[in-house]
Amino acid sequence: MNTHPLSHELSRRGFIQGTAGAATLATLMSLAACAPAAPNGGGAVLNGVLPGDEPVGWAEVKEALNKKLEAELGITYNPEFIPWANYAQNELLKFTSGEPLDLALEARWLHMDQLLADGALADLTEHWESGRFPELNATIDEQFVKYSRSQGTVRAIPQVNAVGAIAGFVLRQDLVEKYGNGEVTNYQELEKFLYDVKQNESGMIPFGLDAGYANNTLWASPTGLFNEESWDTPGPVNQLSRNLAYMDPSGGATNSRPRPFWEGPGFEDSVKRVRKYFQDGIINQDAITADQTSTWGQFSTGLYGSTVAVNDGGTTQRFATIADSVPGASIVEVMPFTAGLDAVIATNFVVANYVVAPATSENVEQVMMFQNWLSKQENHDLVAYGIEGRDWNAVGDKEFEAISKYAFPTFALAWRVPLERSVAGMIPSSKAWFDWAKDVSHFSTDPFSGFQFDQTPVSAELAQLEAAYTQYVLPLAVGAVETTKGLSDMKSAMEGAGLEKVLDELKTQADAFLAG
């Protein structure tokens, strides 16, 4: 499979403020009746699934983890690692077949909507509101929980390390200095950089695009990579999967106006712009079949002059090897905002990653205890970074340096904004943008925060739209087809697939949401 499950969602991570809505299950069984000072898990074994492969050195970390857990809470954690390529399928099969499972990573881009609609997730409302889990409440901002509530109940615990993350650019800083005035702060300067590279650096393609981030080139939600208008004025949050519905704000506070996505700000201009880049050789012509890791790797070996970066603090590590492969190369992270670090964007606080408990689990109280336990700095660090001294060293309170190759998918279990340590030695631009992402003042609340669209009345249409999207929209997003015909084919395909009907249904539900 070409598209990594996360790749098109990393764009949405921008607005993923995630509501830590782990509704506390009101299982007032005798287990929970212990005195709040010393909760007892009763020897429960929590079966969990995690994506990826076992980290190097996991055995010792797991042993240390369970030893502590056993002593302090009487719980044991038993995770199964499932390779990324199969995580979505295998995890859903476990839910479906009723296997003993207590906690799992879930998300909008996995199956959360379906699980919620089927009532397959445990109700955590009582747990969350009870006050029995103070550290958990303290380290997850209430707003994330509030906006993920499903019909008022908390069904998932948000895992966040920042308020939002945007897809932007990583550029070759040495080339920016060579051809420009040393920095790229607006769209015109970006375009100038791209064309300068094309003209002067033979053999280098100015921008490397992959299939996943093709979903980010055009939409102003809030910004599109090549959507010039959105750099100046970030757009509202789009609804529906694949951002098919542009929520036109001109309707006012009580009247939603869902319009087809091509009516969004700057969309059609961006289509023409991307087509020009394709024809001029500014972007690679195999974007639709390119995968993210290979593209990033090719940037690091000097084939591309720039590629996509996300401001989640990972840029430095991802492209660290470039200095070895290309002498004299340096990198800079640039986010698509003319306003720079003062930019403010709308977000609906939707989180990219949640921890959920199946409704069939018998250990929901223990799951909450475990999540609470992980919300303490030293426990969090043990799981996230490994054994101190062997896998990592602390650098101050907020940073760390990695010694071994231990790498845990913390976003699947224990991301907490106040507890996260950033890697020491981040490049300044990346650190600046990561800090930006953690600051709530940079995010305004979208009017549809907390709104969840129920797909069941239009699931057949959505399936057709999904197929039509891949066939007609993606080629436009990478510039592979001629624009006039491409746009008109796309519009008729979308309309033929039932977009009108879906937008009408969306309007009905959205208006009800605004009224309620």
Partner: protein, 315 residues
């Protein structure tokens, strides 16, 4: 391969008597089919249900033919079904023809080592996973960045302009067929070679005595002996003609929408449409549709084959 011409009463009774132990040999396979193929079929009801994870297969509510809607109302159903059939016919025809030709050609090789080399080589492509095939194909047709590739370089040598292969839907049925032949003809040729091994020597001796050349013997003698195997292979493929070759096609075409008009098949369409929704009911519904059509076609083909020759019919 003829039945015994004349049996005595005693022989007939004896062979009927022997029948009673023959079926024991089939027992392991029968158990297998019951457990792994037939028992799970109860799950097919989900094609007519609005599948809910909590309610499971049997608790979910019925929704009639609703699960079939997304496919048949899309307006693309005709083209997709057409592609599926067309590509399958191309694949099976080309693969079998090349396999037969290769088997005959390999059979002609005299030098032992060379023959072993060739036989081993043609079987190799079968092992290469579709993803690797896709990578190699990209290297041939597009290069890195999408603007180059071995084929384009060769075209340029003859002053023919480069073609952006991954943006042109037209040639792809042929390209895919070449890939399938490369992948499978060797595999099938092994079957055909084993069939050639089974041809009685007397037949060739007779041919040589009549002064036939090797070429004539290959086509007049060998070929007819390969017909039964071919009929079996074709019949087995007929039932699956509505099932697209998802593994190979998806690995190569992926999400490249520009190529869908000529390469999108039922399985890839359904996969794309349902991959975010994960609706088992819809997936099962289309699978059921493919199976039913396959049955109808096979029944038709079996009747047809029965008319042509009793000997080679499957049932």
């Amino acid at each position: 391969m003829t039945t015994a011409p004349h049996r005595t009463m005693r022989q007939r009774r004896r062979s009927l008597h022997r029948d009673n132990t023959l079926w024991i040999l089939a027992i392991p396979a029968v158990i297998f089919f019951f457990v792994f193929s037939y028992a799970p079929l109860v799950g097919l009801v989900v094609a007519f249900k609005d599948y809910n994870i909590r309610d499971g297969i049997f608790g979910s509510p019925w929704n009639g033919l609703e699960n079939f809607r997304f496919f048949f109302e899309s307006g693309n159903a005709g083209r997709i079904i057409g592609n599926t059939i067309f590509l399958n016919v191309l694949f099976i025809t080309a693969t079998i023809v090349v396999a037969i030709l290769m088997a005959i050609a390999i059979n002609e090789i005299r030098h032992t080592m060379l023959r072993k080399f060739v036989q081993s080589s043609v079987f190799l492509p079968y092992f290469i996973s579709p993803i690797v095939i896709s990578i190699i194909l990209q290297a041939f047709l597009a290069g890195v960045g999408g603007q180059g590739g071995v084929v384009n370089d060769m075209l340029n040598v003859f002053s023919i302009p480069s073609v952006n292969w991954y943006s042109e839907p037209g040639p792809w049925p042929v390209i895919l067929t070449i890939v399938k032949v490369w992948q499978l003809a060797g595999y099938y040729s092994v079957i055909y070679l084993a069939a050639i091994t089974a041809i009685p020597e007397e037949v060739y001796e007779a041919g040589m005595l009549d002064g036939a050349s090797r070429g004539q013997m290959a086509f007049r003698i060998t070929l007819p002996y390969l017909v039964p195997v071919t009929v079996i292979l074709v019949m087995l493929s007929v039932g699956r003609i509505f099932f697209g070759d998802f593994g190979t096609i998806y690995a190569i075409i992926g999400d490249n929408g520009v190529l869908y008009p000529t390469t999108d098949v039922i399985d890839t369409y359904v996969f794309r449409a349902l991959r975010t929704a994960g609706d088992f009911g819809m997936t099962a519904a289309i699978g059921l549709f493919q199976s039913v059509v396959g049955f109808v076609l096979v029944a038709g083909a079996a009747l047809l084959a029965r008319r042509i020759t009793r000997e080679t019919s499957l049932f």
